[in-house]
């Protein structure tokens, strides 16, 4: 039997999650192309751990395991977290992070749809707070330094911490573009000098600018599929770029351009895949705009004036905390109510 045509069937969660994962595929491909097999290893480890933790927690809470494990939400969490990790981080870090994020940030709050904080960002934040050294140790993308690690060397580094003879990690390591700009500026290097480094491409870092462009592509697909409201990424990017633009206009020797901020770090990943999380953000239209705008502002402040190389994770977590509060004060007027309120206001 068919339902009436005006009934809109909600898209099953599985389909939504599949499409989100699909939207991440181009970025994963570009990421792997410029940083090597480590990216795929991190994603695989995160996915396996997240699914195992999910099943374990569901069993503890005596929930049906199969429908919840196969809904794909744990996989998307795992992928988002793995994509924010350095590709050559030791294997146990992503495993611990995935287990904590599913058990602590998701199931302890009541499971799917109940979590206050974005689980992927909780896992990332816990790790960067606990292991700042390992979490900011990135290998340079291929083609920047004379030496690089092939896939077997990468696997050996991730799983055993050893490299083939004659190779040192320092020889292939490099700070991320955001980190480089920050530390070099602290040493009073001029902006044009910094951007002459082989690490930088046309707008962002070599390799990383294409990865962020691939996130943008995936994000546009999500917009086209109407899976995310356009207001969130647009507001977030507008505020991030706007604040960066003001600083850049006032003092271009110390502040990088909006384009650099858009195409570095996790800006695009955050804009389309993390800030748009429907569970941990506000639900009202105005609330979403405020939420995304403040995340954009906080991201810029943490990036430029904070101690961590990128600010998306902390900005998102702080605003997750504020989301219920924003929701409460941005409730749209009930239909027909607004006029009455105005009249009452005029009388008093």
């Amino acid at each position: 039997m068919n339902t009436s045509p005006f009934f809109i069937k909600p898209t099953p969660l599985q389909v939504v999650m599949f499409k989100v994962a699909l939207a991440l595929v181009p970025a994963i491909a570009v990421y792997t192309y410029s940083f090597g097999i480590g990216v795929l290893v991190q994603i695989t480890l995160a996915t396996i751990t997240a699914l195992a933790t999910e099943a374990f927690c569901l069993k503890l809470r005596s929930y049906p395991i199969k429908p919840f494990v196969t809904d794909g939400s744990a996989i998307v969490t795992a992928w988002l977290m793995a994509l924010s990790f350095p590709p050559l981080a030791p294997w146990w870090m992503i495993v611990v992070a995935a287990a904590i994020s599913i058990a602590l940030a998701k199931h302890m709050y009541g499971g799917l749809g109940q979590n206050t904080f974005n689980p992927a960002m909780v896992g990332f934040a816990i790790m960067i707070v606990s292991f700042p050294a390992q979490m900011s140790r990135w290998a340079a993308p291929f083609g920047v330094l004379p030496q690089s690690l092939d896939w077997s060397a990468q696997l050996s580094w991730i799983f055993t911490g050893h490299l083939p003879a004659g190779l040192a990690f320092d020889a292939v390591a490099s700070a991320t573009p955001l980190d480089t700009v920050k530390t070099q500026l602290m040493q009073h290097a001029s902006m044009s000098h910094i951007f002459q480094s082989p690490l930088f491409g046309a707008i962002g870092g070599i390799g990383t600018e294409w990865i962020t462009a691939a996130y943008l592509l995936g994000g546009l697909y999500l917009l086209w599929q109407k899976l995310i409201p356009w207001q969130i990424p647009v507001t977030f990017l507008a505020v991030l770029g706007g604040v960066a633009g003001i600083f850049h206009l006032v003092d271009p020797t110390h502040y990088t351009s909006p384009l650099f901020h858009w195409f570095s770090g996790a800006a695009m990943l955050g804009a389309f895949f993390i800030v748009t999380d429907p569970v941990t953000g506000p639900t009202t239209p105005l609330g979403r705009v405020i939420f995304a705008a403040l995340i954009g502002l906080l991201t810029y402040l943490i990036r430029v004036f904070g101690g961590y190389p990128d600010g998306i994770a902390f900005a998102v977590l702080i605003m997750n905390l504020a989301a219920p509060f924003i929701d409460q004060y941005t409730q749209p007027a009930v239909f027909g109510r607004k006029g009455k309120q105005k009249k009452a206001g005029a009388q008093s």
Binding site: I126, V129, S130
Partner: protein, 233 residues
Amino acid sequence: MMISRQEVRDISHNGVWKQNPGVVQILGMCPTLAMTTSVVNGASLGIATALVMACSGAAVALLRQFVPNELRNPIYILIIAAVVTIVQLAMNAYMHALYNVLGIFIPLIVTNCIVLARAEAFASKNGVIQSGLDGFMMGIGGTVVLAILGGIREVLGKGTLLSGIDLVFGASAKSWVIHVIPADLNYQFLFMILPPGAFIGLGLLVAGKAALDRRAAEAARRREAETSTPLAA
């Protein structure tokens, strides 16, 4: 001024379990969260607090007839502050290393709201012995929570137990430190040592206590049902 055995049992049960300051009343959170980076830190601050609470409870009960109702809070605070000063000076003299580690949190016992809460809620209405016992048992309840929370954070954060025990028992106690995770692995998980670890650990303890209570209540109900069914039938 006597105390019956039943009273001792009730006051002790109240302090250690039923109204535990750490996981039921959630009072005195500042030291609970800040000083529980290891078992030794947590337990020693807990014992110091228990001593203060026992003495201040007895003192407040002793003086309660002479304290004008309108001025009771400042007077209680003065009494507590006097006791804390004694404990502080004694620790500085006999356990100087530990005193240095606990630092500002020893004088801050004055402002620990569980101390004033018991003076107000119990000692101002009960006898000297009862009040002293109540303060001590509340302090022990807090100490247990501080020690367990300290243990959780120490094991997960540093992989050891009883680190810093030499601050209490002298340098010869250094070998008492238990390395749950072998020392040569250089294990460290900073998150548990930092404040978020304290909040998460305390949250788990509160939940754990509630779960145990619920299980006990269910068991009691089942026992009751078992004993009452033959009568009903």
